[in-house]
């Protein structure tokens, strides 16, 4: 009789812990951290080995809420000459010929009720890596942060940035 009591007690305790952990982390982060991309574009090669600066391609970041990704024409401009024979580049040119944009898969997707202005964060002097991780070492981009509200808030508090709800939610 008694040992059943103990087992029940332990089970209950476990359940409570698990449950609260679950509730604590709601909403759950189920998004694929490193989705497969239509083109095997390597940030390691571009940003790492070639040492191209982030803002060279994502050039709207300092002026616009969106960092922007290079237009297909921009990619083409370089790769007309640089390693034009590689299969992936040929694929790229294929997109250009078909005049259709590349359907990149978002890695850093925020819900629509969140407003994230890149320019404000760059103005504040944050390095891209503080949110995007060491991109220069990644072949395929892997999300390196949780992108959960708590995570945003912590950073805002550290930098005494505004924590008014309307700063990010309108």
């Amino acid at each position: 009789m008694n040992k059943w009591w103990y087992i029940a007690g332990v089970a209950a305790a476990a359940a409570v812990v698990a449950g609260s952990a679950l509730i604590y982390s709601l909403p759950l982060d189920t998004r694929d951290r490193s989705p497969r991309q239509p083109l095997a574009f390597s940030h390691k090669v571009h940003a790492g080995d070639q040492g191209i600066h982030c803002l060279y391609c994502h050039r709207h970041a300092p002026r616009s809420p969106v960092a922007g990704i290079p237009a297909v024409a921009d990619c083409r401009a370089c790769h007309l000459f640089i390693s034009a024979d590689r299969p992936e580049i040929i694929k790229l040119m294929g997109y250009w010929e078909k005049k259709e944009p590349i359907p990149w898969v978002r890695v850093y997707a925020l819900p629509d009720h969140v407003y994230f202005p890149h320019m404000m964060h760059i103005r504040a002097g944050l390095p891209c890596s503080s949110c995007h991780g060491e991109v220069a070492t990644m072949d395929r981009i892997t999300r390196s942060v949780s992108l959960k509200m708590g995570w945003c808030l912590d950073c805002h508090r550290q930098h005494t940035a505004s924590i008014d709800c309307w700063t990010c939610h309108i």
């Binding site: 809420p65 297909v72 024409a73 259709e100 978002r106 629509d112």
Partner: protein, 732 residues
């Protein structure tokens, strides 16, 4: 124009996806194909200047464009007409662009007329079809069998259509619009000797006497006069402009008045002259002004002998006391201003009445004076009675002397059937419509060559009577055309080129854009000849050419030859016994003459006075309603000699007991999902009356009868019926 390529690229910031837990629509990250123009930053909105062509006022607009989509239409602060302000209709043209039921490509009728069955065809086929018909006319040497119906046109489009019709050899270009201010143009010429619309200096006046001039809703230039009204009231520290409104129905404009004189319909002219007589009798008039225009007080008094206070009071149904007060106020407060509007002009004695009102300005000595009346800039010479033009065209169509009719706008809905236009049009073998929606006219058409929306078009607009200085507003496309549409002038050019010969020669332009650009070049040629391109981009940036071309210096003065206004007894269609009530049809704030009805924003905008949404209604004085046993929201039937309609009743304290009023615009067979089959079209009630030598549009001269049908009017008002009388509870 590279920003046009935006549309084939997805938005970078995801709009639209609903806020649902953690899910989000922006799974993909779509890059541009071609990098954006210099100075265009994705994710950041850009503003492009253009002009509104919803109504002839021609306000300047700035369109907020974000990622290749037009997001919002705002007033252009640099534009002298509307100074950064914009009315409800102007802002709603965005929905003309994005209307879900827009015609995406040329259509050829496949079913019977009005059935709404059309076959999609290519532009080539479309233009070919039209040219073939026109060629036929040419071969039969009956080019005058071509008719072109448009609203009053200005600027390059007017030029183009003139050339087109001239080169083709047809005199039948009718530019008609129900609310066109022809009557005012004529009255001004006859009274003040200049064929120009007046421009009232509302902002500076201290006493405004409005005779049914509903400048807040639609009269001449709502936004600019709305702005002026605000300044007249409160922009001056010590002075608050006073406003007296004359009219049987308290319109939205009348609602802002300090004093309301509900004169009997058709008696406004008499009232004006009665006031004139009182003013002269007490010699409160402006002596110099009178002398300057070669008039003597005594002579005038003799002329006005017929307008003693008692008679005027009796005719207008107003208390003598009020008339005397108004006369004194008007004459003793300088500057004072008298405006005449549609409510007066569309009476059987309208033209005379309007001139009588203008006379008051002369007595107040406010011609070409601050707070007075100036000739509007930009010439403004235009038709003085396009109504007779309409009737003659109708006659021709009846006589089968029209083979091809090309129609811009929606006359089938916006012209009173009493003119016989609709039946006559039905006899025309081939009808071409340029509609953007399948509206009532397009439903009758054999061929539809869909026009661009305003925000996709090129063009220029010369605002009508909207500004003192001359203004040319530019229209430029702010987004890529959504569908396979073409703007009317380009369709005409294409046709002309295909017709070849003299036609092609008279219109040697690749595109309408080029034509507009050329016209602009000519306009600013005197100003600066060199380097037009930069000037052109500058013009596009600021939205047009403002105040640079000198407005013709000479102002108004009394036309000595002018006939003395003698507004006779008003005549009405319908016998007083059988039809006891006067009917007034009025353009509602939202729908204008009906072109606003297809736009959901305007449908759900509560009418300011009745707060009705998504419907049309009949305004009835509480007393009359009580007599007829009608209560708020009942379904009533309005019958006139010309026809009858059903609509819900609105108890409306601000209308004469012997009047009812119905807003224009609803009751369309077509016009897309938001307008179709909604409400009733009061134009079907109007009867024609022939007065004097030439026909006149007496749209307010019809009598009606009212009967209650049921309590199920299905009326929806934004305001609570009882609560609307409890301002005491909010302390205003």
């Amino acid at each position: 124009m590279k920003r046009r390529t935006f549309l084939q690229l997805g938005g970078m910031t995801a709009a639209g996806a609903a806020l649902a837990g953690c899910r989000s629509g922006n799974e993909k990250l779509i890059p541009y194909l071609i990098p954006a123009d210099e100075g265009v930053t994705p994710g950041k909105a850009e503003y492009y200047a253009s002009s509104c062509r919803f109504c002839p006022a021609g306000c300047g607009i700035l369109v907020r464009v974000s990622d290749g989509r037009a997001k919002k239409v705002e007033g252009n602060p640099a534009h002298p007409v509307n100074r950064g302000k914009l009315c409800a209709r102007g802002q709603a043209i965005l929905q003309e662009l994005y209307h879900p039921d827009r015609i995406a490509q040329p259509l050829k009728r496949s079913g019977s007329r009005g059935s709404g069955e059309f076959r999609k065809i290519s532009w080539d086929e479309g233009i070919a079809l039209l040219t073939e018909k026109l060629k036929a006319l040419q071969q039969e040497k009956t080019t005058d069998r071509l008719a072109l119906l448009t609203p009053p046109l200005s600027g390059t489009l007017a030029d183009l259509t003139d050339r087109f019709m001239a080169a083709f050899g047809s005199p039948n270009h009718l530019s008609f619009e129900l609310l066109a201010p022809d009557w005012l143009r004529r009255a001004t010429r006859q009274a003040f000797g200049r064929a120009s619309l007046p421009w009232y200096d509302l902002a500076e006046t201290r006493y405004l006497l409005g005779f049914g001039a509903d400048f807040v809703e639609h009269h001449l230039s709502p936004v600019q006069y709305g702005h002026a009204f605000g300044r007249m009231r409160q922009a001056r520290d010590t002075v608050r402009g006073h406003f007296t409104y004359v009219g049987g129905r308290m319109s939205l404009t009348g609602a802002s008045a300090d004093r309301w004189l509900p004169a009997r319909p058709g008696s406004e002219g008499t009232l004006a002259l009665g006031l004139a007589r009182l003013i002269l009798a007490d010699s409160l008039h402006d002596e110099q002004a009178l002398a300057a225009s070669g008039l003597q007080r005594e002579k005038l008094l003799r002329r006005l002998a017929g307008y003693q206070l008692t008679r005027v009071a009796e005719q207008t149904g107003l208390p003598q006391q009020a008339i005397v007060e108004v006369a004194r106020e008007f004459a003793t407060t300088r500057p004072a201003l008298a405006m005449a509007g549609e409510a007066v002009a569309f009476q059987s004695n309208g033209p005379e009445a309007v001139r009588a009102v203008l006379l008051l300005n002369l007595l107040a000595g406010n011609l070409n004076r601050p707070g007075g009346v100036y000739p509007a800039g930009g010439g403004g010479a235009g038709p003085e009675n396009s109504f007779s033009g309409l009737l003659s065209l109708v006659a021709k169509m009846r006589a089968d002397r029209i083979g091809v009719a090309m129609i811009q706008g929606n006359p089938v809905h916006a012209i009173p059937p009493a003119t016989g236009f609709q039946e006559a049009l039905a006899r025309v073998p081939f009808i071409v419509s340029f509609a953007t929606l399948l509206d009532d006219t397009a439903l009758q058409a054999d061929l539809i060559l869909p026009d661009h929306a305003a925000l996709e078009s090129w063009g220029d607009v010369i605002p009508q009577g909207s500004a003192r200085e001359a203004v040319v507003g530019l229209i430029q496309p702010v987004v890529t055309p959504l569908g396979d549409t073409r703007q009317i002038p380009d369709s005409l050019l294409a046709t002309a080129h295909r017709l070849g010969g003299g036609m092609a020669a008279s219109l040697p332009f690749q595109s309408y854009r080029e034509m507009v650009k050329g016209a602009m070049r000519r306009r600013i040629a005197p100003a600066r000849g060199t380097d037009f391109e930069t000037a052109w981009t500058e013009l596009l940036r600021q939205g047009g050419l403002f105040g640079k071309i000198g407005s013709t210096g000479e102002g108004f003065r009394r036309a000595t030859a002018a006939a003395w206004p003698e507004p006779g007894e008003p005549r009405f269609a319908g016998d007083e016994k059988e039809y006891p009530l006067h009917l007034q049809v009025f353009p509602s704030t939202a729908f204008y003459d009906g072109r606003g009805a297809p736009l959901p924003w305007l449908q759900q905008l509560p009418d300011p006075m009745s707060t009705v949404v998504w419907d049309s209604w009949v305004e009835i004085n509480p007393r009359t309603a009580a007599e007829l046993g009608i209560s708020h929201g009942d379904l009533v039937e309005v019958t006139s000699p010309a026809g009858s309609l059903r609509a819900p009743a609105v108890i409306y304290p601000g209308i004469r007991p012997d009047m009812v009023a119905i807003p224009l615009g609803q009751g369309q067979q077509g016009g897309g999902r938001y307008a179709r089959g909604r409400g009733a079209n009061p134009l079907s009630l109007l009867a024609m009356i022939d007065e004097g030598t030439e026909p006149r549009p007496a749209w307010h001269a019809t009598r009606v009868r009212l009967t209650r049908v049921s309590e199920k009017g299905n009326l929806v008002t934004a305001g609570h019926p009882q609560g609307s009388y409890r301002s005491d509870l909010v302390g205003i």
